[in-house]
């Protein structure tokens, strides 16, 4: 029993180290983006707290399909999801402190805000570290089976996660709004069509590893409507939500909000499509 306990400990700490690695890898581009530091202190606390709370169910659900430890029941998924979140917060704190972006002279409001916002991509990294970074010897067969059996709900969840991650990566920059200023209505319309085509082609046309197998006799139209169009709708909603969180909709007319959402939905929809292949 002692030996197995020690093996379990070692497996856990290996998983934890991998989670830290994943957190830093996934969050580094944003940890080094100054708009993210600024958002950390001027973002509405109400928006930030809502986003932070919503991350919990998303992380727990992601952990169910591809967490950093093999899980047996929902309680363990909750535990692992929280650990991933904790790792995301801790990793963000350490890296920001290492860069000198947070220091003791700053107010708690500023430090907590900066760390909380960075913990979003970081905890995604922590939760995905297993499926993406684990060595072959440690790959979890049970998790793989679960992923392959992921039903329609699971696919939607992957798309939400992918859209949130990609949208989060580009939304902090001013360029989102600038692009929507530069674009005409026709550009916006074309961008919508392009998003749908690229999304569909990415998953079903490009023959990447992990392309979902559709049951025999499923028509392309059916796949398009059930996955691509729904996925794009997910990307639109996620984009709008992320932009609202970042305060981009404040005192902005509806049409301008819609255009910015369409711009952000392009990377978000690609994220959604890619997540179905990768996760």
């Amino acid at each position: 029993m002692r030996a197995t306990s020690r093996a379990a400990d070692r497996a856990f700490f290996t998983g934890l180290a991998r989670a830290f690695g994943g957190a830093i890898l996934f969050a580094l581009p944003l940890l080094m983006t100054m708009e993210m530091w600024w958002l950390g202190f001027y973002l509405s606390r109400t928006h930030l707290v809502v986003f932070t709370v919503l991350m919990i169910p998303l992380l727990v659900a992601l952990d169910y399909y591809s967490g950093f430890e093999e899980t047996r029941n929902w309680r363990e998924d909750l535990m692992d999801g929280m650990i991933a979140y904790g790792v995301g917060l801790a990793a963000s704190f350490f890296i920001l402190a290492l860069f000198g972006v947070i220091d003791a002279s700053q107010t708690p409001r500023e430090i907590v805000g900066k760390v909380a916002i960075q913990s979003v991509p970081a905890s995604f990294g922590a939760v995905l570290a297993n499926s993406q970074l684990a060595g072959d010897a440690e790959s979890d067969d049970g998790q793989k089976r679960r992923k392959e059996q992921a039903g329609y709900g699971g696919q939607i969840l992957f798309m939400v996660a992918g859209a949130v991650f990609l949208a989060f990566n580009v939304a902090p920059t001013e360029e989102m709004i600038l692009i929507s200023f530069v674009m005409t209505r026709w550009h916006a319309l074309l961008l919508l069509v392009a998003s749908l085509l690229v999304m569909h082609g990415f998953v079903y046309g490009a023959g990447f590893r992990g392309t979902p197998r559709a049951p025999e006799g499923t028509s392309q139209l059916s796949l398009f409507l059930r996955y691509t169009v729904v996925g794009y709708a997910v990307a639109l909603l996620v984009s709008a939500y992320v932009l609202w969180t970042f305060g981009r909709f404040e005192s902005t007319p509806f049409l301008a909000c819609l255009e910015t959402t369409l711009v952000l939905a392009f990377p978000a929809s690609l994220g959604a499509a890619a997540a179905r292949l990768i996760l």
Partner: protein, 139 residues
């Protein structure tokens, strides 16, 4: 099976031992996450929405090249963030303006301090100094 280890009921899919450290990590993480959420919620509810109010205080005067540099500290007494804050320093002698300099601070978060410096050709210590924040932009 000892008390510290438990085999989780897995419906016969092949059991796995979980490290007891996992419960420790989970407890710490939960405390951390709830702490952050709690603090953000407290900030959201308890903070009044007062506009920025920036107070500029002189810190030191030193030689800088052929002139002088006056380091200052700008404290935002309000709870809202001020962006693009222009700080102006004016040197006066016998009620007459001798020299003015200005510096722009990108951001001063609510209740936070940011530092900067103003360059002068004359020695500020030989003059009356007036330091003030001219205005700001909402972020």
């Amino acid at each position: 099976m000892t008390e510290k280890q438990r085999r989780v009921d897995d419906g016969g899919k092949g059991g796995g031992l979980r490290s007891r450290w996992e419960s420790v990590a989970a407890a710490l993480s939960t405390a951390l996450v709830l702490g952050v959420i709690g603090y953000l919620a407290y900030e959201a509810v308890a903070r009044p929405h007062t506009p920025p109010a920036v107070e500029v205080v002189q810190e030191s005067v030193q030689r800088a090249g052929s002139g002088w540099v006056m380091e200052f500290r700008a404290y935002n007494q309000g709870f809202s963030t001020a962006a693009a804050v222009t700080v102006e320093g004016k040197l006066e002698k016998d009620g007459e303006e001798v020299e003015t300099s200005e510096a722009v601070l990108d951001y001063i978060p609510g209740r936070a301090t940011r530092r900067g410096g103003l360059f002068f050709r004359e020695d500020p210590r030989a003059h009356q100094v007036e330091l003030r924040a001219m205005g700001y932009q909402e972020p």
